[in-house]
């Protein structure tokens, strides 16, 4: 093969690569748009009006997630499945945001942490890399951390909306999450930085609980919060 042929060959590879990226970018933009719509639906829980109507907001969000699954389905067709990490940068952030949104919906519905299995079902992806387009564990964790900071905001706003029980429940939930994260050995990467933020969320929520308890407003969930 001559030098020219070799470079023509490589150029062909590079062009193909760029085309794939262009295709991926377009689908990802659509996903971002859907994610923004879901966010708008869920944001309303911070306002007194929306706060009182959480179940219907969650239902609406659940509907929008079906659009997500369709778009993710389309995304999968744009590149060979075993090259996931080659293009990871493109969808990483939107997957984190979507995980956050899924986790937020699940939390609002059931006061519990969405599992990786549930998220992948909601987003229409896989848990295992081997099975196909999957959700990276770091992206799952990042999404969960975004939710944590949303919950600290929710704790504040539920007091404004007059719900004094929710902050306590959020506090328990977030503490459990924090214990989970303490088990991990993170590198000095974005996830680590985000996890550092969790400490502030925990702190903020603790302050809300404190404010409520010194005013005798905290409705203690049956058993004692010794800690």
């Amino acid at each position: 093969m001559s030098v020219t042929e070799m470079f023509t060959y490589i150029q062909g590879f590079l062009s193909a690569d760029q085309d794939v990226r262009e295709d991926i970018r377009k689908v990802v933009q659509a996903l971002e748009q859907t994610a923004r719509e879901i966010l708008t639906v869920l944001q309303s829980v911070h306002h007194p009006a929306g706060f009182r109507d959480i179940p219907s907001r969650c239902r609406r969000a659940r509907e929008l997630f079906s659009a997500v699954r369709t778009q993710v389905g389309e995304l999968k067709t744009k590149f060979p499945v075993e090259q996931y990490y080659r293009f990871h940068e493109h969808w990483k952030f939107v997957l984190q945001r979507l995980t956050f949104l899924a986790a937020f919906v699940v939390y609002l519905e059931s006061d519990s942490l969405v599992t990786r299995e549930e998220v992948v079902k909601i987003l229409g992806v896989e848990v295992d890399r081997e099975k196909g387009f999957h959700l990276d564990v770091e992206d799952y964790l990042a999404g969960v951390l975004i939710m944590a900071s949303e919950l600290s905001r929710l704790a504040v706003n539920s007091v404004t909306a007059g719900d004094y029980g929710r902050p306590l429940r959020i506090s328990n939930f977030i503490n459990e999450l924090d214990s989970g994260f303490r088990l991990l050995n993170l590198k000095n990467d974005p996830l680590r930085k985000r996890y550092d933020g969790l400490k502030y969320d925990v702190k903020k929520i603790e302050e809300v609980v404190y404010d409520l308890s010194i005013r005798g407003l905290a409705k203690e969930p049956e058993a004692g919060e010794d800690k």
Binding site: N175, D178, S179, R182, L183, L184, N185, L186, K187, D196, K199, Y200, V202, K203, I205, E206, E207, Y210, D211, I214, R215, K227
Partner: protein, 265 residues
């Protein structure tokens, strides 16, 4: 033809000299490379120890965590022992760049554990005292042939590496402070605030007389201090609202522990 060259001998002088140089350079590079690899291991294990130590704010008995950290640090020290072994008879500074990152991270981990246990700053001597290794005498005396085959091997952390490790420690202290507030611990933040402020004052006393890398870390240190001071401030401000009837409880349960150490006032 080859036999004819009258300079058949002289070139071999130059060439054989260069063969010696080749040997010397390769030996040095190989050693450097081995040190880099050990240093990476030291870094990783030290980082993991730090993560482990952060769990003390969330577990009931912190002694378990500290004991586990002891084991981990022991393992790191063994790795540093390997570095010391490599440096035996060498000028430490010749290979310093290869392992400085690892050593700094070790200082960070060791001083973090020390703070948690003793609420004081570990000294350079204390750090170095842990880096004394008893060598396998049987295996070594052979190849040392004659030289003082001391059974004890030491590693000396340079003051600068110590300083850089302590500078990084302040970031971990800040994290620990915020976690403590989140866990409802009212005392640790003030202790940390005091300690961090002392370290900060120490660094500003050193100012720009230290090496460049230290000055670079000062900005982060100052941010950490600000975060801790803010946390203490918030604790104080919201503490001001405690209703009269709750004060008694608070004082019995907390003030007793707070005062003796260093506390707020």
């Amino acid at each position: 033809l080859e036999a004819e060259r009258r300079d058949a001998n002289p070139p071999s002088a130059v060439i054989s000299a260069f063969k010696v140089f080749q040997q010397e350079l390769d030996t040095k590079h190989d050693k450097y490379e081995r040190l880099v690899k050990i240093s990476r291991d030291v870094t990783i294990e030290s980082k993991r120890t730090i993560f482990l130590l952060h769990r003390v704010t969330s577990v009931p008995n912190m002694e378990d965590v500290l004991a586990e950290a002891d084991v981990k640090l022991d393992c790191v020290q063994q790795k540093i022992g390997q570095i010391a072994e490599e440096l035996k008879g060498e000028d430490l500074f010749q290979f310093h760049k290869a392992f400085t990152a690892g050593i700094q991270e070790y200082v960070e981990a060791a001083s973090f554990q020390h703070f948690i246990r003793h609420r004081t700053l570990i000294s350079l001597e204390e750090i170095n005292a842990r880096l004394v290794f008893i060598r396998d005498c049987e295996a070594d005396t052979k190849d040392d042939t004659g030289r003082q085959a001391s059974p004890v091997l030491t590693f000396q952390v340079t003051p600068t590496d110590y300083l850089l490790g302590v500078a990084d420690l302040t970031g971990e202290l800040m994290r620990m402070c915020i976690s403590s507030v989140g866990n409802g611990d009212m005392d640790t933040p003030f202790q940390l605030g005091s300690f961090l402020r002392e370290i900060h004052d120490g660094f500003s006393y050193i100012g720009n007389t230290g090496p460049y890398e230290v000055s670079k870390k000062l900005h982060t240190l100052r941010q950490s201090l600000a975060k801790v001071e803010d946390a203490c401030y918030t604790l104080r401000v919201r503490g001001s609202e405690i209703p009269k009837h709750m004060l008694a409880d608070v004082f019995t349960s907390r003030a007793a522990i707070m005062d003796p150490d260093e506390g707020v006032a």
